[in-house]
Amino acid sequence: MTIDNLKSPDLAAPHPATADRPATAGRPATAPSAASTTDLLRLDDLHISVHHGAATAVRGISLGVRPGEIVGLVGESGSGKTLTCRAALGVLPDGCIIDRGSITFAGRDLTTLSRRGWEDVHGSHMGAVFQDPASYLNPSITVGHQLAEVLRVKLGLSRRAARQRSVELFTAVGLHQPEHVFHQIPAELSGGMLQRVMIAIAISCDPELLVADEATTALDVTIQAEVIELLRRLRAERGLAVLFVSHDLAVVAELCDRVVVFYAGEVVESGPAAEIIERPRHPYTQALLRVASVGDFRRRELEVISGQPPQVGEDITGCRFAARCPAAADACRSGPIAPVTVDAQHEVRCVRAQEAWAAGELAAR
């Protein structure tokens, strides 16, 4: 159950699970900060407090989504990932306030957006799908009419045009016999089909960004694979950017270009998916990889992560993972730890990882 990697000096060695993969040639020079002016959605130093300011649940989150990029947010319940994506959508629960930081979408500041502004953004620029599609649909109206209603209201289409477009959208999301599905009520459709309907509604007005919050968690594994493939296809055909939130690292690794790892309200590691999987630098990411269903069908020792995450909003000096980290040192607990860029666009918030990387760099020269 220990995280052995951190004890060895060469933290830069490839992760054992992927040892048979050809190593990437060389290591590029330290890349500049990940903040890019071409970001579609940009969160900077976001702080969110809950219970009317009683606790700070999200601390200093910075991340960006570029056009056509699929970014995955991964972490446990209470890590702040859902709160972050709800803040980006403007649907924070009661009592949650953005204390500090900014959220920008295509240059527009979302933290000070009026209700009118949000009506414009929702649907036309940002769409969303959540975990339980059945609870987001009216059970007594056919799904076709629910989609057509969105089209008529947002795009001003006529009844006939809306119906036609609805069938086209159902086809685009891979529904079999879309004409027939148009006339079915949610109870007649399976979970996978309902989620496709939700995706159709979310992309109906051609948004640039789709936020998917645990969208595949409740689906059967074969349907989950189909929905993931659908999201890939939508990105390829429409240039749709996706912010994909999940607690399942395997799903995130499967689908996403970039991965952002959340722990206790902070981003502890972020970078290209392949890079994070191959060279996880933060002990928490390494632990997640060990417990995740890595597509390994051999009989093996099942790993666990001992201990528990801190209470939401708990005040901790230094690293928030230090209590559970076998490699924690005094330096980890002395003060706030800033994220440092290691490799290309790969950031880590970990003192020991930074040390190991620096040592590795030194040895390589």
Partner: protein, 303 residues
């Protein structure tokens, strides 16, 4: 999520507190009304007919010069006790079958439901008249048919509450371990159905009290000159010209008591809270990475 159940939580509502005070007063009168009455409720005083509320007679006198306050106080016992008698009959006849019907199979349930339907169509006044005609004029006898006709309400409400809990997965789990139906009722279901029965009892007591008042108003079951609330009201209405204020007094007493009972029932029902843990809304998969007790309430807000 904190669940407020039980009597202590009910007291937080101001309406419930007022209701309890009122009902405590009525209870005292039921027990000690005759002895507490300032004057003899039966004493006729020809010199003091139709007096309004005053120093000597706090609520005035009736058409025979009898002190109204004393009559009402003395009459409380008979009215309340017979109302409780009816409720008691209804409770016994209704709740037992209401719980049992869920466990005794489809045919029993069908039969019980049809009997209930039949009883609910019958008017209690006629039955009260019939019973008193057969068994003699007395309030005790007259309330028996009222009790029998209250039973269907107890039956239906108890049945609905039991159904909800009898289908719970923990009941299935108990059955899989070899629990008999009696065990399931005793260990799992009864405790959860009692709050519903309590609420129903309060509501039905209010209904029974109204029935008592109406029966005595009609003169059924009344043995004059014994005072009853409805009887006082009835005689007041006969002499409306001489004392127009008079009917308000017993009417107010009936209304306040019935109102207090209903308020108590409402307060208790509202505070009962969810019957099961899983009644909370939220994401289907709620993952917690802890192996220690977590503060579930706060986690759900954030995740």
């Amino acid at each position: 999520m904190k669940r407020l159940i039980g009597p202590q939580s009910v007291l937080r509502l101001p309406s419930a507190r007022i209701a309890i005070v009122v009902l405590l007063g009525i209870a005292v009168l039921t027990a000690f009304g005759s002895t507490l009455a300032p004057q003899n409720p039966l004493t006729i005083n020809a010199n003091a007919l139709f007096q309004g509320p005053g120093a000597h007679h706090l609520l005035g006198t009736d058409y025979l010069g009898r002190d109204v306050l004393s009559r009402l106080m003395a009459g409380t016992r008979l009215s309340v006790l017979t109302a409780l008698e009816a409720v008691g009959i209804g409770l016994v006849l209704g709740t037992g079958p209401g719980i049992a019907t869920v466990f005794l199979g489809r045919w029993f349930d069908f039969a019980a439901n049809r009997v209930t339907d039949a009883l609910m169509t019958l008017p209690y006044i006629f039955f009260a008249v019939a019973v008193t005609a057969a068994l003699g004029n007395g309030l005790v006898q007259a309330m028996v048919p009222v009790g029998i006709l209250l039973a269907p309400f107890f039956f239906r409400i108890t049945r609905a509450a039991t159904l909800e809990h009898a289908r719970a997965q923990y009941v299935e789990a108990a059955e899989l371990m070899g629990a008999s139906k009696l065990h399931v009722v005793r260990v799992h279901v009864l405790r959860k159905v009692l709050p519903t029965i309590a609420v129903t009892t309060a509501s039905m007591t209010a209904a029974a009290l109204l029935a008592v008042s109406f029966l005595t108003f009609l003169g059924i079951g009344v043995q004059p000159p014994a005072p009853t609330w409805g009887g006082v009201l009835s005689s007041d209405l006969d002499y409306l010209a001489q004392a127009p204020w008079a009917p308000f007094i017993p009417g107010a007493l009936i209304a306040v008591t019935v109102g207090a009972l209903n308020a108590l029932a409402d307060a208790f029902r509202d505070r009962r809270g969810a019957g099961t843990l899983a009644a909370q809304p939220g994401p289907i998969i709620r993952t917690h990475s802890t192996l220690e007790p977590a503060d579930d309430d706060r986690q759900s807000q954030v995740a």
